[in-house]
Symmetry: D2
Subunit: 321 residues, 4 copies
């Protein structure tokens, strides 16, 4: 059953079904043999202009979690925030009067508690990346193709939030829930919006509320976490969204148990469709703001650090309402 | 002489002059004894709304340099971009079908070639930070006050670019040039704009052209680099800008040689006025775009990673025209 | 009761007792006001020469654990072992024929699962270090005094292993056990050895067996771990050992619950006596070898990396029998 | 001409000569198809016992340089020595009375100024490692074969120092000098020693004096640095040394200019012979001590950190005389 009860039960696909879907949804070659932007090609200046016109309140909202500096099941590899100079070193640099503090920040990019964007080189299917490039082009000294530099000028466009938990009338989706197309369309209807070409679509499952319900500690790999049913992939493809984000990882955790297809949204979404994913977003305040203004579309901006060869980046996406 | 020849020669201030300026420009207490936002308080929702209305082209421009992965005089401590899993490890994680690349990114925050924002805890004057907090509150485990979290919801507002090099009719300002108030006002006049309350002001000195002129290698500490004359500080204070950025570090390099006041814009701007600074921006493409559309104001966004206790953050600021 | 039942029950000292002990065991000034070596001063060339004569088998034994590359309760901050160039990058450096792999290793020094040596600057008592230096001399850019450089020429001498678990006839000491002076002297008697001036003394509690008994996962902070009763400190002082090591942290975990004196061996041992500690050693194979040859003394070597200002170092101590 | 003038001029080999040498010196299979220790197999307990008997003074000498914390031409990637807690944080951990400093140390393993050991997986020739393993077994998540764990129990044996600069009567060898077999044998004769099976051989070229002569800054890649003539490789093979070290990198810098064979000692020594190399040693104090006691053999110990999959490790080798 879908979390919102909006449609009939949708069976779990087989591996053969997903293999077929993978083949049919490929955008490879669609924007030329050298394209490294994938579905970002759907996002044009006209969309940015229109999105800017959505700014009526002048309020900016962060869609990121604080970087974890202590370990937890969601953050087994916390960031390194190392102070290179604190107040105690203020006068020790040899320049009289120059009193400064300095620090270092380092992070695993793809941590399960890190709000981050996945570049198109992050996933392979049978040794191939988006647009047919071999996995071998992701070298131990960096990705030669499909790196995060596709987003180097920033991702700016219309953001759309579909809050499935709110639609279902719950604080969070059960850990074993799969969001279906019927759910997405019910959320569209409830929001009075249609997900369209070039949109940056975000799906809220209530992960923060789930964590709170579990006493503040969430172990997605062991406990499970809601995600999209693979049947959403053709729908996302057809709607021509530019980027997909979620407060989870878009895929359910710990996965569907389909051999060779543990994470279909990552595998088919990134590799076939060319979708950049934004994982582990903080969507609670945004949902609150959207409810308050009665509008679920807004100007969205995200700007990864310019990392040549990077497979993604921790980010602080911003919604402007 | 000012680089644009727009006014009379402005003498270099004495240490006593700067100490007096430091005292007179203090915004301490202006927004309450607990304020940690400083001049960001000038930036209100109405400014964001107005800035969004400036988006006419739908074009986004990055204002950051690529993170340096190899050492150079500008980047003596290059970032660590370490691939944790390249294409060669795609099938080695124990989940059949899960083929992924992963990496790690780490950076000194305040590198001279790193596009970054300075938090208000980055600078001290005689052991004090903005709003009177003692330097000792910046601990070796993080800043207790005035951290980069003041920007955690993103910096969004009207960006204004004053291209002093273009105004002077040169590709880059000489390394020993000090930009004066007369220059700033001449640039305003040429741009048909007035720097106003809540603005995010950026000053272009042509640093990238300077680097090119020096064969691609720039050593700002040894070679020098243009910056603002300290007389600009009262002007910036009066205009109530929210944030100051530059393709340099706003201060000239290697400094003015005034005892105890090596970097007045950092010292007085950050500590007294409460100005966040954005150092080492890439402003060339933005200047080109502004010239093309004949407008030097635009929607500006910057979103540092959410680092509790951080003294700043590498960023990729975005201008939206 | 002591783990070996070798003596009467020893009461837990009060905070006042420990404060008095701290005062009475101070070696401050003993080797001059500028000394930074502490009890290492007991270790003279004659001891090294004698220790070398103990080498009869020609067998070297590592006393370190593998550096943890995955998180666990003992290793909440695993090391960073990042491959900078794997086999896939062998031909990508621009020098024809030069095919090389390269990596990066980084570690928190004082991790509870990391075999490491504590420098004398690692601990303070009321803001003072060994020999009376203020804690403020340990700056956010490194220790000005009492750094790990005291061991820069290596620690070489007679190692002595006292295996308390074996003496007690168990695989591991119970987590709430405190090793007493009676235990140490019983172990000496059983080994036919006398701990003497300049010795590097190691105490085995069977931590690895304890971990195995708990299914391979040990959480010392939550589960507890055996250590030395504080009454051993005067004894260690009197015997003039140079360095103290253990398969635990010498102190019991999670501590004795004495206000202001949570870890007396660290506090009094390092700060008052000037004892370098070696924490989290792997002593199982060594105990096996010592039993086999019927001798519990051997040549011991340890060589921390030369880190100016360091508070310690991960190490791989070696016993040579 | 050899630096000591000890023999006739030795011509530079051709690429074909080196390819033939590579084939003829292979120890592959000599110690079984699964061997990962290479020439370490020459070093037996009897050698360690004999080496321990060389300890007459009881003096330990470090053979490592301080880890560089600031960049230089020799250390373009300095270590990260980050203080996690300095004196300012001593009372901020929540345990009353527990006052501690802590730090983090991280290093590129193979830096040109870092005293380090090369594991057998560090070099490939045409995609093969020692004993015929494919380069692909060195993955982006670590080496599957020939890692530094071959030295996990420590390297302990007879160290022999051949000081070629001293023999030549100079402080340092000219940057374009190649040490020949005649030089090695002259040094043996002068020292009254014969390099034998299982020895850890170290070659001193006077690099520290060369650096001093250049004003304290050495850029080996640009300036050049003395090393071994490739004709030494068959000699080292025949003598059955276990490990080779140098104050340089054993190979001359920037190389011989032979296509496909830029660094023959690394390529043939590591891959064919199975020689672990120790690069960038500090041999000055050791040479001084050896001269003082008139003996050039001593007990040598080196203990890399236990890094599963590591390609080497920064080390602090110790000589015990």
């Amino acid at each position: 059953m879908s979390p919102t009860g909006s449609g009939p039960e949708v069976p779990t696909p087989s591996g053969a079904d997903l293999a077929a879907m993978y083949g049919s949804l490929k955008n490879w070659g669609r924007w030329g043999p050298d394209d490294q932007s994938g579905a970002l090609n759907h996002l044009a200046p006209v969309h940015r202009r229109a999105a800017a016109a959505l700014v009526t309140e002048g309020v900016s909202v962060s869609l990121a979690h604080d970087l974890a500096q202590q370990p937890s099941p969601e953050n087994p590899f916390p960031v390194h925030h190392h102070m290179l100079a604190s107040g105690d070193a203020r006068d020790s640099n040899g320049i009289p009067g120059y009193e400064a503090s300095r620090d270092y920040i380092g992070s695993d990019v793809h941590g399960l508690g890190v709000t981050h964007v996945d570049a198109l080189c992050h996933m392979f299917v049978e040794g191939q990346m988006y647009n047919g490039a071999p996995a071998a082009e992701v070298r131990s000294d960096g990705a030669r193709r499909n790196s995060v530099m596709a987003l180097s000028a920033g991702l700016v466009g219309r953001g759309v939030l579909l809050d499935i938990a709110a639609l279902a009338g719950v604080e969070y989706l059960r850990h074993d829930t799969l969001v279906t197309v019927a759910d997405l369309e019910a959320a569209e209807a409830a929001a009075g919006i249609r997900v369209s070409s070039g949109d940056i679509l975000m799906i809220a499952t209530g992960r923060d509320a789930l964590r709170r319900a579990r006493g503040g500690v969430l172990n997605p790999g062991a406990d499970g976490m809601a995600g999209l049913h693979p049947e959403c992939l053709p729908w996302l493809h057809e709607r021509q969204i530019a980027v997909l984000g979620s407060d989870g990882i878009s895929d359910p955790m710990p996965g569907l148990g389909i051999p060779q297809w543990p994470f279909p949204v990552h595998q088919i979404g990134i590799v076939a469709i060319g979708l950049h994913l934004i994982d582990n977003m903080a969507l609670g305040e945004l949902a609150h703001r959207c409810r308050a203004v009665g509008r679920w579309a807004f100007l969205f901006t995200l700007a990864p650090l310019r990392i040549e060869g990077g497979t993604g980046c921790p980010v602080n996406p911003i919604a402007l309402l």
